[in-house]
Symmetry: C2
Subunit: 244 residues, 2 copies
Amino acid sequence: MGKKHTSSYEVAYYDGDFTGAMKIPALLAVVIKVSEEQTELLGRDAAYVAQFGLGWVITNYEIEIHRLPKVGEKVAITTQAMSYNKYFCYRNFWVHDEEGKECVFVKSTFVLMDQKNRKISSVLPEIIAPFDSEKITKIYRHEKIEKVTEGNFLPYRVRFFDIDGNQHVNNAIYFNWLLDVLGYDFLTTHQPKKILVKFDKEVEYGQEVESHYEIVEQENQLKTRHEIRIDGQTYCEANIDWTN
Amino acid sequence: MGKKHTSSYEVAYYDGDFTGAMKIPALLAVVIKVSEEQTELLGRDAAYVAQFGLGWVITNYEIEIHRLPKVGEKVAITTQAMSYNKYFCYRNFWVHDEEGKECVFVKSTFVLMDQKNRKISSVLPEIIAPFDSEKITKIYRHEKIEKVTEGNFLPYRVRFFDIDGNQHVNNAIYFNWLLDVLGYDFLTTHQPKKILVKFDKEVEYGQEVESHYEIVEQENQLKTRHEIRIDGQTYCEANIDWTN
């Protein structure tokens, strides 16, 4: 099992939504920062990876939310590179509150992408070695994401500030598009408890996405299905389980 | 002169724009957090102010930018309540880099607003006393903001996550609307050096704003004029001076 790295974070007023709960986009942004910190500590930051013409891209998240931290709370964020195979690197994150209780657990899959041809590269030993994660042959099968069968959508233009210092639409922005369509009444009366997300294609500056969604109830579980589309093509898919 | 409070902040990857410079919306969000910290330290946080049925609202910013901090930089943010008169409180902010050089200087005006009738309240001695700021009779005249005479606009829907834990459209979001309209080519080749902003009315969730803008050149100074409008009414005005 790979090395762990923990950082503390105090939830700022601007991280909080209407209800004072930490926004999912803010949560993911902060969580990813902790893995960036670990890559720096181990001498494998974005600049090191870029020497090989590569960059990290996240393909999947499985997020379990026991409760969202509140504005003003101090949380501990821990990350660990778990294992990797030829193409995929598996990394976990935990968010704990001050009493040591787990608030959020995230499984994620990262790939190395060739910055020129935008194709997935095999995992290079030089890049991965210092993390001490386990080499495996198995490919982890993420939980199946159900497609939107019928539903509504809202359009979202990619804005200049949606692009971060890595010249990509920040992963957190997808969650803004995915969730915003559900609207005030839904979002102030429901909490997400499980989020599955798959990133299929990279959205670029200047594009306009459609955030499709559908609200369903399955076996007493309120669920939303999501799809980010451009010109009928799927860029991102998600399923969210909700509690009232 | 009032008490000073300083906090350090490391610019995160998600605070950076395309070029790795700190986004103006992120800069303002972090700067305001430091004044919130001071109100907490002095026992005059939002909950204390809410006892009187009041809340702080920012009406003006004058921002001087020598250079925008970069992702990964550690900056020191200082705030000081300078002075106040019957209705207006004047607060300054400074952002310094690790060598102690000033990167950004901000003058701001705050008012206390009645949470029920949304009218400006006179400044209560109980609320302001611990800051040791100077009582003055003069009303500070902010630099005049030139109106948009003719120009283009883009529409922006207020999104759920634009509302912060204070139940308002976060001030920083206005800067997102104001700047985004200028587009990639402009924003990656120009840096703001001076920003004047006036907030006239509060935008609410569910509204759609028009971000109007006009690019002009005056005495060799490239300048943009901005106006946030809803149904022909002005909600926010700004002028920005740019360097190439």
